[in-house]
Structures are given as structure tokens and as C-alpha cells.
């Protein structure tokens, strides 16, 4: 029997593919993806709020699909393509969902916004012309304590209109 790959409990070298760039990190296996992104890579756009899967503030994409980075081990994400809010814009050109969020005032305090944007942008990738119900379903896991949900729905529908 071959020996399985083994890591930890101390720090281990891992490689994460983040926003198209390969990044080398030294992490303990117990480190979550959210912690690795924020504390090790300095990508603080991804927020940690409830830290237990109840609020979706930490949403990033794994291979293009929205997942909760606080509920995923960084080491488990090795070998997969990770996209964070920092990777959504193309240089100065914002993603259509980001533009629409600004136009429609789809944020108040802003803490839930990066996660919301990741979920709404993922929705438009798989369903370019969603209705309001589909947007509400896509953000069903997100908590916005300011209550900006109607603006988020309006912004996402507007972004869908505009997206080429």
C-alpha cells in the first residue's frame, strides 16, 4: 500500500491557486480557507462573520462554485481554483455585479457585500437571465443585518440586463 499524503499537525507547505496566481503558504492543516486568505495572503475582502456557515459572508468560489471559505480547510482547497472578491474585477473595470451594486445602493455597512457579490456573480455565470426568485434563492444563505436584500435583487437583475 502506498503511503497516503500526510500533513501536520504543524505547519506544512501548501500551494493555493488564488485568482489565477499560484501562492505558496506554510499552514497548519486546521487553518480554514477564510483564515488563509485573510491572515496569510492579506486578501481581506473575504469576511468572517458567524464563522460557522450561518451567514455566508465568507463566500468565495472553488472551481467557479460559491462555497463557504470558513467551513473549508485551506489544505482541502489545494489543487482547486479559488476566486475571491479581489479577483472578480478586471483591473480597473469592475464586474457588472459590482457596478450594479454601487448604482443600486446594494450595500449599507458593507460587511456582507463581498460574499453577496460572489453569490450573485456566480448566479449570472450559470443563469444569465435569472428572475427575482432565482436571485433570492442564490442569496438565501446570506445575512444582511442592514436589510438591503431588495437592492441586492434589483442590482443583480440590472447586472443581468447589462452583461454581454
Amino acid at each position: 500500500m502506498t503511503r497516503p499524503e500526510m500533513a501536520g499537525p504543524g505547519k506544512t507547505a501548501i500551494t493555493l491557486a488564488v485568482n489565477g496566481t499560484s501562492r505558496q503558504l506554510e499552514l497548519e492543516p486546521r487553518t480554514t480557507l477564510a483564515e488563509a486568505l485573510r491572515n496569510t495572503l492579506g486578501l481581506t475582502g473575504t469576511k468572517i462573520a458567524c464563522n460557522r456557515g450561518a451567514c455566508s459572508a465568507c463566500t468565495v468560489w472553488l472551481n467557479g462554485q460559491p462555497v463557504l471559505s470558513c467551513m473549508t480547510l485551506a489544505i482541502d482547497a489545494a489543487g482547486q481554483e479559488i476566486t475571491t472578491i479581489e479577483g472578480l474585477a478586471h483591473g480597473e473595470a469592475l464586474h457588472p455585479v459590482q457596478d450594479a451594486f454601487i448604482e443600486h445602493d446594494a450595500m449599507q455597512c458593507g460587511f456582507c457585500t463581498p460574499g453577496m457579490v460572489m453569490s450573485c456573480a456566480a448566479l449570472l455565470e450559470r443563469n444569465p437571465h435569472p428572475d427575482a426568485e432565482a436571485v433570492r434563492d442564490a442569496i438565501a444563505g446570506h445575512y444582511c443585518r442592514c436589510g438591503t436584500y431588495p437592492h441586492v435583487v434589483a442590482a443583480t437583475l440590472a447586472a443581468a440586463e447589462r452583461k454581454p
Binding site: T2, P4, N51, R52, G53, Q65, M71, S119, G141
Partner: protein, 264 residues
């Protein structure tokens, strides 16, 4: 989280031997329950054995059965054209679990190994009389669920797939907790090769259970009216901040009626 050693074996036999050889080693599927448990330090595993590289994800449909690999995510089941065709109620159940991000990581094997008393899949497995396949044996649904968070799985036993016999009629209705979308009460009704069966999740103090009185009523007369006449006692049902046992008993009847109507 306490620290642990992390392993990602590529063969089932390796994963099973690590888990069987160390009582403190734990399997990791999508982490949707396991990671928060670790964060709360409710568990201190020596080793975490990630099942992601074992090739346990996938769906196989034959004429009479649908076999779903243990690591298949809820999102994959919900989107599967094969499952939608063979057992539409199962695809719909998977698509209504939690939220989208949870569905992209949460797995059928993790859900069944965990056997949360409010989880959806246990109701489908019990109502359709599915078989849980592990690295060691095949376990019938009726012998698998053994109370809240308790199953027939032994230390180190790994679920590899679940085989559902395709029912003639089936539907699942849940009264979801509006925050988590776990079932406050969920009822799965099925008429198929394993008989006419009704499974209730979210309500019982001992987790998922079969509603024998409703099964008898439906076996005689498959209609919403037939279950409407069956009273569900509140004894043995859960009472918590979300709902009293009496309210849950009432919801069992309502969800059952809706499920039978939806199954057609």
C-alpha cells in the same frame, strides 16, 4: 480547532485502514457539520481523513435503481438530469437543502453518517427503503438509523454509496426552519418496490421514523384524504424554541397531505 494530522488518501482501503486503526481518527466529507464541530472543540481528532480523493462522487442510474456515491454533493444531485428523471422528489429534496454554498460542499454520505434529526436525506432513505453501502457491507435503511446522530456505522466504516430503488410515486415536503432551512418537520412519502412508506424527519426525539399509521392508510387508499384522517400523537416528538411537540405533530399531518398530493 485543536490541531490534527491531515490525510487525503487516494484509495478506499487506505482510508478505511487509517480510520479503523485509530479510534480518534475522523473522516471528512464536505465539512459542513464536521468543521463547525471542530471549531467548537466538541471533537479532538488525532487524524482527519479527507475522503475527497477516493472517487466516491457520481450517480449511476439503472432501470430499477439510482446509486449515488457518498461524496456526491447536494448541488450535483439537484442538478442531475438522471435523478430528475428517475426520482424527481430526490433531486428536489437535494435542491432545497440549506443554501447554495452548503449544497456545493455538503454530501449525501456526510448527511447520512451524521444523521442529524432534522436532516432531509434520512427521510428519503427510510421512505424509499434505500440501501447504505459501506466498505464492509450493505445496510438496509430500516436497520441503519438508530436514533439522534446514531447509525449502524462502526468505527472506521466508510459509506461508499446509497442505492435507491426507483419508486412509482414519491414526494418530500418540509416545513423548513427559515434561518437554516433544516426541517422543522419533513415528510417523505413513497410507493414503490419496498411498499408504501412514510418517513418523518425533524420531529422525532429519536430522529427520523416511519409513520406506520399513515403507511397503512395510504396502502389502502393513496390519497391526501387518507392521511388527513390519521392523527399523529405528540408523544415522543421534539419540543424546542422553534416549535412545540403539539405543533410538530400537527405539521406532520399537513406535510404528509401535501406530499401525497404532490406525488400524485
Amino acid at each position: 480547532m485543536y490541531d490534527f494530522e491531515y490525510l487525503k488518501p487516494k484509495a478506499l482501503a487506505e482510508a478505511a485502514s487509517i480510520l479503523a486503526g485509530d479510534g480518534d481518527a475522523k473522516a471528512l466529507a464536505g465539512g459542513m457539520t464536521f468543521i463547525p464541530v471542530l471549531k467548537q472543540r466538541l471533537n479532538k481528532p488525532s487524524k482527519v481523513v479527507d475522503l475527497a480523493a477516493l472517487g466516491l462522487s457520481g450517480i449511476k442510474v439503472s432501470g430499477e435503481t439510482v446509486e449515488i456515491g457518498a461524496m456526491t454533493t447536494h448541488a450535483t444531485v439537484a442538478a442531475s438530469a438522471d435523478v430528475k428523471r428517475a426520482i424527481p422528489a430526490l433531486a428536489k429534496l437535494a435542491g432545497n437543502i440549506g443554501d447554495e454554498a452548503v449544497r456545493h460542499r455538503g454530501t449525501i454520505g456526510g448527511s447520512l453518517a451524521n444523521n442529524d434529526p432534522s436532516a432531509c436525506y434520512p427521510a428519503a432513505v427510510l421512505a424509499m427503503g434505500a440501501t447504505i453501502v459501506t466498505n464492509k457491507r450493505r445496510i438496509e435503511a430500516d436497520n441503519y438509523f438508530q436514533g439522534m446522530f446514531a447509525t449502524a456505522l462502526e468505527q472506521g466504516e466508510v459509506i461508499t454509496s446509497v442505492v435507491f430503488p426507483v419508486p412509482a410515486k414519491a414526494a418530500y415536503m418540509k416545513f423548513a426552519n427559515p434561518a437554516s432551512r433544516y426541517a422543522m418537520v419533513g415528510v417523505f412519502v413513497a410507493k414503490g418496490p419496498k411498499g408504501t412508506r412514510v418517513a418523518v424527519t425533524g420531529a422525532g426525539q429519536n430522529g427520523v421514523f416511519r409513520h406506520k399509521a399513515m403507511e397503512e392508510a395510504l396502502a389502502k387508499n393513496w390519497s391526501a384524504d387518507a392521511v388527513a384522517g390519521v392523527k399523529t400523537p405528540a408523544d415522543g416528538l421534539n419540543s424546542d424554541i422553534h416549535a412545540s411537540a403539539e405543533y410538530r405533530a400537527h405539521l406532520v399531518g399537513v406535510m404528509a397531505k401535501r406530499a401525497v398530493a404532490a406525488a400524485g
